[in-house]
Point group: C2
Chain length 186, copies 2
Amino acid sequence: MPSDDKPLRADALRNRVRILEAAEQVFSERGPAASTEEVANRAGVAIGTVFRHFPTKGDLLREIMKSLLARLVSDVETLQRDSPPGAALFAFFTALVAQAARQKTVLDLLAQAGTELSIPDAVGMLERSVDGLLHSAQDAGTVRRDVRLPEVMALLSAVCQGAVTGGWDERLQTRTLAVVFAGLAP
Amino acid sequence: MPSDDKPLRADALRNRVRILEAAEQVFSERGPAASTEEVANRAGVAIGTVFRHFPTKGDLLREIMKSLLARLVSDVETLQRDSPPGAALFAFFTALVAQAARQKTVLDLLAQAGTELSIPDAVGMLERSVDGLLHSAQDAGTVRRDVRLPEVMALLSAVCQGAVTGGWDERLQTRTLAVVFAGLAP
DNA sequence: TGAAAAAGTGAGTCGCCACTCATTATCGTA
DNA sequence: TACGATAATGAGTGGCGACTCACTTTTTCA
C-alpha cells in the first residue's frame, strides 16, 4: 500500500482541518446519523469539498474515530503515570463516562467500531491500554484477581451506552459507577 | 377522550393481529429502523393496510412497546412469587439481558421510550415493579441498603444496551453480570 | 341477495440524504 | 505574471422510506 503523500495545497489543507473539526462537533452532538451537509455548513465549505477529502461518509467517521481513539489511549497513559496505581482504572471509567455524555462518538467507538466501520487494530490498542490499567489495579489490590479484560470492556461500553441513551445526570453517573466499582473490588 | 371501540370487521381484526406479529418480529431482528414495508411484506398485507391500522410508524412501535412492557411487568410478578425473595432481582437482570440480546426492542423500551415515543406511565409501571424486587432483595439481605432504584434501572438498561450493541455471548453476559451483582451485594 | 359501509391495495408523492460532475476559482511555480 | 495543476463549488441524481388516495374488494346486515 504505497502512501499517497503528495503535499496538499494550502487551501486544501486548511479545509481538511476545518472539516475534521466541524465533523467532530456535529457527530458528537447529533450522533453519526447527522448529515454530511451539516458538517459542510459548519465547516463553511461546500458539500463537494467534504466528499473530495473523504470519498465516503464512513471515511470521515473513521478518521474522527481514529483521532478520538488516539486521544483516549494517550489519556490512559497519562492516568497510568499520574494516578496512584490502584485508582487509575476507576479514574478512567469515570472520565470516559463523563466524556461519552458530551460526545456521543465515544459510543460508536466502544460498541461497534470494529464491526461497521473497520478501524483495524485501533480498538485493540485501547483494549491493551485498559488491560494495563486493570493489571495495575489488581497488583495494587483494588480489583479482584478473577476479573478479566472482556468484562471490564463490556462494563465500560455498557455504562457509557447507558449514560448517553438514558441521559444520566452527574449524580446518577456517580451512583451507578459506585456499584460497578464495588463489584470490581475484592 | 371517548374510546372509539367500533367493533372491527373480521378481516380488519385478522390483519391487525398479523401486522402486530410481523412488526414484533421485524423490529426485534432489525431494530426500530426497519422499514414499514418490510413489516407489511412479512404480514402478507399491502403497505396501505399497515397505515390504515397505525397512522404513523411511531404508533405501531408504541403498540409493540406497550405489549412488551406488559409482558415484562408480568414476568416480574411471576419472579416475585416463584423465586426466593433475595434472588428475584438477580434473576430478572439475567433474564432481561438474555432477552435483549434476542429482541432489540427491549433496548428502546429501557433507553428512551419515555422520551421519543410517549408511553405515558407505562415505563413507570416497570420501574415500580423493579422497585418491588429491589426492596425484597434488600429485606432478604442480598442487596445493600444504600442502593436505590435509579441506579438499578440505569444498570439494567446499561447492561442490556451493552450486550446488544456489543454482541456479548452468553459467557460474557454471565461474567459481566457477576460483577454487577457483586457490586449490589452487601 | 344486494347494496352501503368498511377495509384493502399499491402506485405515486414528498422530503431527506449520500454522492457526482461540469464549471469556476485558487494555488504554485517558471 | 501567466499558466497548468489542483481544489472548491453547488445544482443535480438516485435511492430509500414514510405516508396518501383513488380505486377495488370484502364484509355485514336488512
